[in-house]
């Protein structure tokens, strides 16, 4: 191999290493502080790994704080949102993929517009509207709001997965006498399972991360989701870094799990979309 080419490969691997370190370092630091005992936190300064590690912060957070409740609330809200959105988006994505109808253009335009305008401008009116219905400070209220916010993107996502399945399949079934809905449910949906999984993952992660509406709509500890709980915790006990970071590590787990499951075919799916269109 020529030395020039070797140098090029070295530079390529070096640059990739820089990216990996930059991407992981903040998360590594989060983990490091969460296992550092309090007495070493200030004395050891910026050491890369503490001389002694401990799980006391995790113990405290899991056993003696309200975080398990926040965790449970977030799981309920994100899980319910993901299921609701995926059902609605499979239906509407199927309509956009398989039918050409008069209002289609307007439906697409409407969904694109909802992706463009600042959601923060809905904070006040949504609060005012949900409050008399008893849906503020409730997980149901959050599920409704998050579902609406995520349906447009999920619809486009599902549509792109339906587009990848040949139309002949359900046409054959319909010639055999099935209605289109039966063909959709029994033939197309099972074939779209990977797409459904991706949509579930996307929506779950989005709902898990949402902050502003959760802050506005939830005030008590009982219905607080993880972001609300963590921010309240930060403003109340702003000195106990070990515990905060232990809570942060816990908040990271579900989102990262979902991501690792779907990431491989994130690029694949997008590539397929790009090839087609």
């Amino acid at each position: 191999m020529r030395p020039g080419k070797l140098l090029l490969i070295g530079a390529h691997r070096g640059a990739i290493l820089v990216y990996v370190v930059f991407a992981l370092f903040p998360l590594f630091w989060l983990l490091k502080v969460s296992v550092t005992p309090n007495d070493l936190l200030y004395s050891e300064g910026v050491r890369m790994w503490p001389s002694r590690t401990t799980f006391e912060h995790f113990n405290f957070v899991i056993a003696h704080s309200a975080f398990p409740t926040f965790f449970k609330n977030s799981l309920i809200v994100s899980g319910a949102t993901a299921v609701v959105v995926t059902i609605l988006a499979s239906l509407s994505g199927y309509a956009l993929s398989r039918f050409s109808f008069r209002a289609k253009y307007w439906i697409v335009a409407l969904m694109l517009i909802t992706q463009m305008f600042p959601l923060v401008m809905l904070v006040a009116p949504i609060f005012k509207m949900l409050s008399p219905l008893g849906l503020t400070n409730s997980l149901t209220g959050l599920v409704i709001v998050y579902s609406a916010f995520n349906v447009p993107f999920a619809t486009f996502l599902m549509q792109s997965f339906f587009d990848g399945i040949p139309k002949d399949l359900e046409e054959a079934a319909m010639i055999d006498g099935a209605t289109q809905f039966v063909a959709f449910r029994q033939i197309i949906l099972p074939l779209t399972l990977p797409g459904i999984a991706a949509t579930l993952g996307f929506v779950f992660t989005a709902a898990w991360s949402e902050l502003l509406f959760a802050l506005m709509l939830i005030s008590g500890n009982d219905a607080a989701t993880f972001p609300v709980g963590l921010l309240t915790f930060v403003s109340k006990f702003s000195v106990d870094f070990g515990q905060m970071m232990a809570a942060g590590v816990l908040a990271l787990i579900p989102a990262c799990l979902f991501f690792l499951l779907i990431q491989r075919y994130l690029v694949q799916g997008l590539t397929a979309g790009a090839v087609k269109g």
């Binding site: 910026v46 409407l110 349906v151 619809t155 930060v234 905060m244």
Partner: protein, 307 residues
């Protein structure tokens, strides 16, 4: 629904009605939800902009005409937030795009362990935004974070202090967090576009004697251009509205130096509970974004006409 030019056997009316309504039945649940939770509040919010709505004041609710907008014209914090929004959006998009493109180009070459590397460098994208904000706020904190100490070691700082409380530097905190968090988005999108470029084009070009730079300029860039244009333009709108990191890291401070319009709206609604004024600012923001979108559409039209 298929429209055949000659239909010999027209199906009965009921069947035709059912066929025509089928796509609407599929999309109705999603549309109803969007209308109820997004469109109705949007209209209600626009009406708030002309009313006095304060959550803690039971006597509020009256029509005040353009009062909020007059107050807005005198509001120095609002104009500061406008300037900060430009700065925040411009710097975030520029760095996210540049580093995202470089990462996509690096990942486009096959190498051992590419799948794992891809998973690792895309990981920040899965980190919830509030956690990304807190995480970077902690990294900038001289008590537990390494960054201020490294800045001192590099001679950038005299003594370790938190840039988030420095009025001149504070905006860099959320921008760095945003760049860290947003690089994967650009990298994923651009990588997908890169992988869609037919490989034989490159082979043909190298047979014809084109060097790597020439291949990049005359094959890669033209193929990527539409994706780049669309993602950058959409991302600009999205980032200008993205207040999470700022709310978490600085809450707009110190002295409103990191307040962007979106976080200013949230502050007015959430902390001051002044829904009327918050909605007036939101309306101005919406108008600005509409103008921006119009410009994009015009630009696209001119580009299409040329091409």
């Amino acid at each position: 629904m298929m429209h055949q030019p000659i239909q010999k056997h027209r199906p009965p009316l009921r069947k035709r009605l059912a066929d025509a309504s089928e796509p609407y039945l599929y999309s109705a649940p999603a549309l109803i939800l969007i209308a109820a939770v997004m469109l109705v509040p949007l209209v209600v919010g626009i009406s708030y902009a002309f009313r006095d709505i304060q959550l803690l004041n039971p006597f509020s609710g009256g029509f005040v005409g353009l009062d909020h907008f007059r107050a807005l014209g005198q509001d120095q914090a609002f104009f500061g937030a406008l300037r900060n929004t430009l700065w925040w959006t411009g710097a975030s998009v520029f760095f996210q795009f540049t580093f995202g493109l470089i990462l996509a180009l690096l990942l486009d070459k096959p190498f051992y362990g590419r799948g794992l590397v891809q998973a690792l460098v895309f990981l920040p994208w899965a980190v919830p935004s509030f956690l990304a904000g807190l995480n970077w706020a902690w990294l900038f904190n001289p008590v537990i974070g390494p960054l201020p100490h490294w800045f001192v070691a590099l001679g950038l700082m005299d003594e370790p202090h938190n840039i988030l409380s420095d009025p001149h530097l504070a905006m860099w905190g959320p921008i760095v967090a945003n760049v860290w968090w947003g690089i994967p988005f650009f990298a994923i999108t651009l990588l997908a576009a890169l992988q869609a470029i037919p490989r034989d084009l490159y082979e043909a070009a190298s047979i014809d004697g084109a060097g790597p730079v020439q291949r990049f300029l005359s094959i890669t860039l033209p193929f990527l251009a539409p994706t780049i244009a669309i993602t950058v333009l959409l991302r600009t709108v999205w980032i200008s509205n993205f207040a999470d990191l700022i709310v978490v890291m600085t809450n707009g401070g110190p002295a409103d130096r990191t307040q962007i319009v979106a976080s200013y709206i949230f502050t007015q609604a959430f902390r001051r509970l002044d829904f009327g004024y918050a909605s007036a600012i939101a309306l101005v923001l919406l108008a600005l974004l509409l103008v921006y979108s119009m410009l994009i559409v015009l630009l696209r039209q001119t580009m299409l006409n040329k091409g």
